[in-house]
């Protein structure tokens, strides 16, 4: 995630996807969803594109300071799907 530590505004997100053996998984479609930890706030969505084999990049708009949760929904050729949620604590106020 860039910048580090994260701040309000556009945040660069890079997701590495590997299989059980650790080999990069290409050709997937990844969608990011950012939610504040507190209910009642607007979520942010973004799509990722594959920048290099198994590495997907996107830009997520962090609209408020505080603690976020970033959910990654991935689908791959052959119909395989995966979902992971990552905590993104301590997003700082913007400049």
């Amino acid at each position: 995630m860039t910048p580090a530590p994260p701040a309000v505004g556009a945040a660069g997100v890079e997701v590495a996807v590997t299989d059980a053996a650790g080999a990069p998984v290409s050709g997937g479609t990844l969608r990011l969803e950012g939610n504040m930890s507190h209910p009642g706030m607007r979520p942010s969505f973004a799509d990722c594109r594959e920048a290099e084999p198994g590495r997907y990049r996107g830009s997520l708009d962090l609209t408020m300071a505080g603690d976020w949760l970033v959910q990654v929904d991935a689908s791959f050729p052959g119909g395989r799907r995966a979902r992971r949620t990552f905590p993104l604590p301590g997003v700082r106020p913007g400049p």
């Binding site: 939610n35 504040m36 507190h38 209910p39 009642g40 959910q71 301590g90």
Partner: protein, 479 residues
């Protein structure tokens, strides 16, 4: 001809067509509690088995965005109707059909100290477990509440849980002193000839029409204000003369009343109630402080100073400082200043207890500013959450979730927050002046200035907090 007797209150909600008739019907009130019981069951099921993400779970959205905001809004505009609709009472009454409680609440605990301690514990757990950000813990909170209600009111007679235990109820009682409506006798003279005292004793089982009297020990003719009143309207049902209404009154006025009130005694002789008022006011600041940017720096600094990584010692120290030491110190300073300036002969505790109640409107203004912010900026988020929940359950009747539905922009709500805090300040200053005039009719300013200074300090702190960047925390120490 209106059928309203001469001298009757100018406005009585129970005389409003349709609404008044509905409120008077026990069945309608039971239906309201039953609806909230169903909502509670849905919330528990969702909290335990739904999305682990708080913004996408019905339990957390309903509890921390809608319920909390609606609660304070109803208290501001009407009265303690959320206690009236409490679903826990329905569970308690159902359980009491099976087991009748035999014990009376211990005499040593017939005060607000247990409520004060539990309110502090509730606010502490809210921060420690990030209740707003955790559907599972939100559900468990409801489950624990049901368990404690059934345990306490299963053992002890009357509404012991409501009167002495329920932390949310204690908040409601204090806030409702600033509400515009009060459950009150319509015509005091009509009570003079009353021999049966049904409003407090009820009519026993076996009577032609069994009725429950006030479970919170409030005798209507000597009841003053809303403290300890859950708006259950059992007294309305019980009064054979139809002499109890929900009448309009001056908000906050009851905090000045020095008369002996039924079920409570005299406010100025109740340090436990004054402590509740102080926790209500300073707890509002602390609760708002937990949501703004500087709390990160303070927690990180304390963490380094204490050399700990766990959150509870840091949070415990913050609570002790901001909810015990700071209020006690400020109240003592104001009391000492007033005693010296006005040459009062009482002890500091006595002065502080009497004047502490002036802070309540300001504290309520802070609770309103905070809770209404969440409600107004997020009230539409329930729509996509329900859409998503139904869709996940294979019932996509409401279509795909529309996550663009949120609420008002924060900038649009901020003037309202400012106005609510300033309104609370004005009412608090008015109360402080009148309390000062009671103490020193010839020189009220000597007593007023210290308490006005305290009100201004609390208001300035609240305004500073509301001006800080809002952060939605839900993690342990930021490090």
């Amino acid at each position: 001809m209106t059928g309203v007797p001469a001298g009757a209150p100018a406005f009585d909600l129970l005389r409003v067509p349709v609404l008044g008739a509905l409120l008077r019907r026990r069945g309608a009130r039971l239906a309201l509690r039953a609806a909230l019981l169903v909502a509670a069951v849905v919330m528990v099921a969702q909290g335990l088995f739904g999305s682990p993400l708080a913004p996408k779970n019905v339990a957390t959205v309903l509890t921390w965005v809608h319920f909390r905001g609606a609660l304070v809004a109803v208290l501001l505009l009407a009265g303690n109707f959320f206690c009236a609709a409490c679903p826990f009472v329905l569970a308690r009454d159902a359980a009491r059909r099976l087991v009748r409680p035999r014990l009376t609440w211990p005499r040593a605990l017939r005060n607000k100290w247990p409520g004060v301690a539990l309110l502090v514990a509730f606010l502490f757990c809210y921060e420690l477990f990030d209740l707003w950000g955790d559907p599972w813990w939100t559900a468990m909170l409801v489950v624990i509440y049901f368990g404690v209600v059934l345990a306490v009111d299963g053992l002890f007679q009357h509404a012991s849980f409501c009167k002495y235990v329920c932390p949310i109820g204690q908040l409601n009682f204090v806030a409702s002193t600033v509400s515009p409506l009060e459950v009150k006798v319509r015509d005091a003279a009509a009570c003079h000839t009353c021999q049966t005292r049904d409003c407090i004793k009820g009519a026993p089982a076996g009577a032609p029409e069994p009725r429950r009297g006030c479970e919170l020990a409030l005798f209507q003719p000597r009841k003053i204000g809303n403290l300890d009143c859950t708006f259950c309207l059992d007294c309305v049902d019980a009064c054979p003369k139809d002499n109890v209404g929900i009448v309009l009154r001056m908000p906050g006025e009851e905090l000045l009343d020095r008369r002996n009130r039924s079920g409570l005694g005299r406010l100025q002789k109740r340090p436990d109630l004054a402590a509740l008022a102080a926790v209500f006011t300073f707890g509002a600041l602390l609760n708002a402080f937990g949501m703004v940017s500087p709390v990160y720096a303070v927690e990180a600094w304390l963490s380094r100073a204490l050399g700990v990584r766990a959150e509870w010692p840091v949070l415990g120290l913050l609570f002790a400082a901001l909810l015990v030491v700071e209020p006690a110190l400020l109240l003592a300073l104001a009391a000492a200043w007033a005693r010296r300036a006005a040459r009062l002969r009482e002890g500091l505790v006595s002065i502080a207890v009497r004047h502490c109640f002036a802070l309540v409107p300001l504290g309520f203004g802070v609770w309103l500013a905070h809770s209404l912010f969440h409600l107004l900026t997020g009230f539409l988020t329930l729509v996509p959450v329900v859409q998503g929940t139904l869709a996940d359950a294979g019932v996509p009747w409401l279509g795909a979730p529309d996550w663009t539905l949120v609420g008002l922009p924060a900038a649009a709500v901020q003037p309202l927050q400012l106005g609510l805090i300033l309104l609370g300040l004005l009412v608090s200053l008015g109360l402080a002046w009148r309390l000062a005039a009671d103490d020193r009719p010839e020189r009220p300013a000597t007593v007023f200035v210290p308490w006005a200074a305290l009100c201004l300090l609390v208001a300035a702190t609240a305004l500073w907090l509301m001006s800080q960047p809002m952060e939605m925390r839900a993690v342990a120490l930021a490090g």
